[in-house]
């Protein structure tokens, strides 16, 4: 327990140190703080006893915070939340390191907010109390909004306000749903309590109609964060306008709060509602996959392209989760981690050429492999990881998500009936083909081909003082307040990208240990679902065929019950 609190508190302490110290030492302090936080969390993970049991650790009574309202300060991890927290802690120092040259104005505030953001995300993943989770989840909005609004591109304020309002509205519904659950717990047991396990135990006993609304309210909150079509419109703008490290943490950690919320709250708490609504979510996910891919195809802004691809990828992740069988759910969790690594790395790569050329327009830039060979190799590597090349991390998650969807038939022999089936998988698979196409087109434009560099008039520079010239090295030097960057990547930038590349490769080649660790958790997640899905299918069949022919659905359920 202590190590968890230390890893959450260290970034905050570092943020205070940044605020009080001189601006020149801000980034070093931030780097040390985030590294120490990572170290504390790694130490915890090293001693974590529940890697393969699917249980939570540590358990036990936690300090009450607001006794009358049943809010306690309890933290603990299961495998899934620990993996996501590790991902966050792992990305934090890389983001800090990646911001060294990009942030030159209001430096102290930037690193301070960034550290607070990190610890807020860690709190959300670690929380074992629904209100504590909400505190972490909701508070991420404040630093993220400010990071976008202060350090972003030309439309930064609009982007920040839009992001804030979307997420705030969604999370208010989520809060209402959580309070409602607390109330149901109060009715059932006589006291207010927001412990997640206690709430889940209460929630699964609720009548179907209550669970339906409960699931819908939680889903609205998390769908904004994922983001699921049609609530996604804040994301491309926010990504486009955010500074590089902001985009990285937004895509890699903040969006995972949405999928994690589904994993931790919506799915286990309202299985009856989830079974009723899974088709809706699956169809929305598929729309997101296809629709976002098509937008990517015509996108000329490299960063927006990655942002839309992120929507598409997370759609696949949601589809895997809502296949409601172990394969899909494992794939979805695995994919959460992988998407964090590869998309985060892609945002970093784009940020690196943006710092040199001050444009992300793929019509203006091209053939950078000739100018920046080291950068180009990283870019190609991470793009392939994102496409899902076998041997790299993206492949495993995508394959499992699609496989899970494919197997989610009503007469599946796995013991986990579903309503999705091959057609869903085939349509979603189209999205992967699109993904390969648009990402390879992106590579073809900016990495290979004839060298094209922006002229002074074509730049979409945020800083009016900086004019691009044909020579990468000089153009950055033109604006007096920006540090000089080498033509190709500096040692610092390579140090940022290398750990990510190693992680991608390692998870691609050795996915088994992690999948083994995830599978007990997903089995726990899905424990109520086979019965619920069967119930929904039986009701569905009865309503389609009329009540006199309802026995027609009996054989299916009998054969499943016998297993």
């Amino acid at each position: 327990m202590a190590l968890i609190w230390i890893s959450i508190a260290l970034p905050v302490i570092a943020a205070i140190a940044v605020a009080l110290g001189p601006a020149s030492r801000a980034r070093t302090t931030a780097l040390i703080g985030s590294l120490l936080s990572l170290a504390a969390l790694t130490l915890f993970a090293w001693e974590f006893p529940a890697w393969t049991s699917g249980a939570h650790f540590p358990t036990g009574e936690a300090a009450q915070w607001v006794k009358g309202a049943g809010v306690s300060a309890s933290v603990g991890f299961d495998t899934v939340s620990l993996l996501l927290a590790l991902l966050t802690a792992f990305l934090m120092p890389l983001c800090v390191l990646g911001s060294y040259s990009a942030i030159t104005d209001r430096v102290k505030e930037y690193y301070g907010w960034f550290l607070v953001l990190g610890s807020s995300i860690l709190l959300a993943f670690a929380a074992r109390d629904a209100i504590l989770f909400y505190i972490g989840y909701e508070f991420t909005l404040v630093p993220m909004t400010l990071i976008v609004a202060i350090y972003g591109g030309p439309d930064r304020r609009v982007a920040a306000i839009k992001m804030f309002l979307y997420t705030f509205l969604g999370s208010m519904f989520m809060l209402a749903a959580l309070l409602y659950l607390g109330w149901e717990h109060r009715i059932a047991s006589g006291s207010w309590n927001f412990d997640i396990d206690a709430l889940t135990a209460t929630a699964v006993r609720l009548p179907t109609s209550s669970q339906y609304w409960l699931f819908a309210a939680l889903m609205v909150g998390f769908a904004v964060k994922v983001p699921l079509f049609p609530l996604h419109t804040w994301l491309p703008l926010a990504h486009d306008q955010a500074p590089t490290a902001g985009s990285v943490i937004l895509a890699s950690a903040l969006l995972k709060l949405g999928t994690y919320g589904n994993y931790r709250f919506a799915l286990p708490m309202a299985p009856a509602g989830g079974a009723e609504l899974m088709c809706v979510v699956a169809v929305l996910s598929i729309i997101a996959i296809i629709y976002a891919s098509l937008i990517c195809w015509v996108q000329t802004d490299a960063k927006k392209l990655i942002a839309y691809s992120s929507i598409s990828h997370l759609g696949l992740c949601m589809l895997g989760l809502f296949a409601l069988n172990p394969m899909g759910a494992e794939g979805a969790v695995f994919y959460m981690v992988n998407h964090g690594l590869s998309t985060g790395a892609l945002f970093l790569c784009i940020g690196m050429f943006y710092e040199r050329y001050h444009t992300k327009d793929t019509d203006v830039l091209g053939g950078l492999a000739k100018r920046m060979p080291v950068w180009a190799s990283f870019m190609v590597f991470f793009t392939l990881a994102s496409i899902g090349l076998p041997g790299l991390n993206g492949f495993v998650g995508e394959f499992l998500c699609l496989g899970g969807t494919f197997m989610a038939e009503h007469d599946a022999q796995t013991g986990y009936p579903g309503v999705l089936g091959p057609w869903y998988a085939i349509v979603a698979g189209l999205g992967l083909i699109f993904a390969a196409m648009y990402l390879l087109i992106l590579l073809g434009k900016i990495v290979w081909g004839p060298l094209r560099e922006p002229t002074a008039h074509a730049t979409h520079s945020t800083h009016d003082s900086s004019h691009a010239t044909p020579h990468g090295i000089q153009l950055a030097a033109h604006s007096s307040h920006e540090p000089v960057l080498p033509v190709d990547l500096s040692v610092r930038e390579i140090a940022v990208l290398t750990p990510l590349a190693v992680a991608c490769l390692w998870l691609g080649l050795q996915p088994t240990p992690m999948l083994d660790a995830i599978s007990p958790c997903t089995e726990r997640l899905l424990v109520h679902y086979p019965a619920q899905v069967e119930r929904v299918m039986a009701e569905h069949a009865a309503s389609l065929t009329g009540s006199d022919q309802s026995p027609s659905s009996q054989p299916t359920s009998n054969s499943l019950n016998s297993q």
Binding site: Q64, W65, V66, K67, G68, A69, V71, I131, Y134, I135, E138, F139, L141, V142, T145, L146, A149, I150, R157, A160, I161, F164, L165, F168, L169, M172, F173, L175, A176, L179, Y180, G182, W183, R186, W192
Partner: protein, 529 residues
């Protein structure tokens, strides 16, 4: 009579101190020496601090239980709350009252004229108003209740007029006074009807009479109309619909430090009065009598009162939030925000005794801290000698006044209910209370309203921190006195520090909200548990 008077008087020691302090301050305000006049706010603070120290010594539980009070321990929470917030409201006004007059006297442009200075009166009236709010907690009958409420309000009319300079405060004061007088008439009429129906002025007797009526054929129509009129009249004090119209004009017209006072003290007093009156009515024991003579018990206030409060709550928060969205003046926006927060607070009134009263008082603590922080930040700044009013004055505030910009941002986030600020805990405790009373519809209304409020509070967060400075905002300077800034920083930090103590505050409010046990005479009526 004498026996019951002495513990009652002992409970009123803090009020007596404030009264003595008011007299002293009023007289000292006439002193020819500037040093004495400048010391007035600090003497006022000293009086308030003395009363805080005196309170736990004199307000002992046995004494309170002997004093025939409806809510015997309420004063142990509300009086310190009033006094502590009073200290900050005084510090917030240091250097603002009589500023121009004192400047011209100091420069020798005009001689000192004891008839023109208003500082002594200002602080004396401020103490009297706080005293009224404290007296309210110990009300034993309707006359006391009425006098205490008026003692809160009457000084504020004068404070609005004398606290600043120019004609706008006077215009605001006149408007405030006439509408206030109307609301007084409304709830006084309500008191009269309540007396007519129950035959007593004593609150405990009224409670027992109403309980007896409820146990019989239900509360009679006369009393019901009376209670409805009292609620509507008190809506004026708490700036709730339909008596909220004055708020934007008065808050904008009044000097900033007085606006801060208006947004907290009358609201606290009004909600305390509402809690007392509704405790008389009771949240249990009401029933509908079906046509076949069967009594159907239901939870909560009698249906007509609950319906009125329900509409007041929904309309107040909705109109408040929508009104706030449209403002370009920060003070008007804060006025509408004050209206909206009253709407949330009415949830606690509907929820009632079990969780509602403590949620109301936790919310009042939170609201006091965050609204005083906001107004203090505004009061610590000026532009060409005039008060800050427009949002555009605040653009890019962080460049020259970073601390005030941060305070504004933090208090705005707390006002919107962003965790982990105290506003969040206050809000969820209100929602929880509403759930306890089975008011899911109200919770949903409040949730939607909170989401709307995100829009304008976000503006108050981003304008000082993010927006680039404009020509207007370059002219913004600090006021000469440092105390408004100190107030802003302390209250701004309190928005986050207090959330660690949210649980303790809620427990304290809960024990304060316990009502006196029913007298044996009601038990003989049976039925009422």
């Amino acid at each position: 009579m004498i026996d019951s008077l002495s513990p009652r008087l002992a409970l009123l020691v803090p009020e007596m101190m404030l009264l003595a302090g008011a007299v002293v301050v009023a007289l000292m305000g006439l002193s020819k020496r500037r040093g004495v006049r400048d010391a007035l706010p600090f003497i006022t603070c000293g009086v308030l601090l003395l009363s805080i120290i005196a309170l736990p010594l004199t307000y002992t539980t046995p004494r309170a239980l002997d004093a025939h009070l409806l809510l015997p321990l309420l004063g142990r929470f509300v009086k310190p709350l009033i006094a502590v917030m009073g200290v900050w409201l005084v510090l917030l006004s240091v250097g603002s009252v009589d500023r121009r007059l004192e400047d011209s006297v100091a420069r020798g442009r005009q001689p000192f004229d004891a008839q023109r200075v208003a500082r002594g009166e200002y602080y004396a009236f401020l103490l009297l108003s706080l005293m009224g709010a404290m007296l309210l907690c110990n009300a034993t009958d309707l006359i006391w209740l009425f006098l205490a409420i008026e003692l809160v309000s009457l000084p504020t009319y004068i404070m609005v007029a004398v606290g600043g300079h120019g004609s706008r405060p006077q215009e605001a004061a006149v408007k405030y006074f006439f509408l206030g007088a109307m609301s007084t008439a409304v709830f006084l009429y309500g008191f009269a009807l309540l007396y007519g129906s129950t035959g007593s002025l004593e609150l405990l007797a009224i409670r027992d009479a109403l309980a007896a009526q409820a146990a019989g054929n239900g509360i009679d129509g006369l009393a019901m109309i009376g209670i409805a009129l009292i609620v509507l009249g008190l809506c004026f004090k708490v700036t709730a619909v339909p008596m909220h119209f004055y708020a934007p004009d008065v808050y904008e017209g009044a000097p900033t430090h007085v606006s801060a006072f208006l947004s907290f003290v009358p609201k606290t007093a009004g909600f305390t009065a509402l809690v007392i009156i509704l405790t008389c009515v009771g949240w249990t024991g009401h029933a509908i009598i079906a046509p076949d003579g069967v009594r159907v018990q239901y939870l909560g206030l009698p249906t007509p009162i609950a319906a009125i409060l329900w509409m007041v709550a929904v309309l107040t928060m909705t109109l408040g939030n929508i009104g706030a969205l449209l403002q370009t003046s920060v003070k008007r926006m804060m006025a509408y925000s004050s209206i909206a927060h009253s709407g949330y607070l009415v949830l606690g009134l509907i929820a009632g005794a079990s969780a509602g009263i403590d949620a109301i008082y936790l919310y009042l603590v939170a609201y006091g801290v965050m609204t005083i922080a906001t107004f203090a930040a505004l009061a610590s700044l000026e532009r060409r000698g005039e008060e800050i009013n427009a949002f555009s004055d605040l653009a890019g505030l962080r460049v020259r006044h970073p601390v005030m910009a941060w305070v504004l941002a933090m208090s705005a986030l707390s006002l919107v209910g962003m965790p982990p600020f105290i506003g969040f805990f206050a809000k969820i405790s209100l929602f929880i209370a509403a759930f306890e009373a089975n008011q899911l519809g109200l919770v949903i209304a409040a949730v939607i309203n909170s989401a709307i409020s995100g829009l304008y509070y976000l503006r108050l967060t981003l304008t000082p921190l993010v927006a680039p400075p404009t020509a207007r905002s370059h002219e913004v300077t600090s006021v000469p006195s440092r105390w408004p800034q100190v107030t802003a920083v302390v209250c701004g930090l309190a928005t986050i520090v207090l959330s660690c103590a949210a649980g303790a505050l809620l427990d304290a409010a809960r024990s304060a909200g316990a009502s006196a046990p029913s007298t044996p005479s009601t038990h003989s009526h049976g039925e009422h548990p």
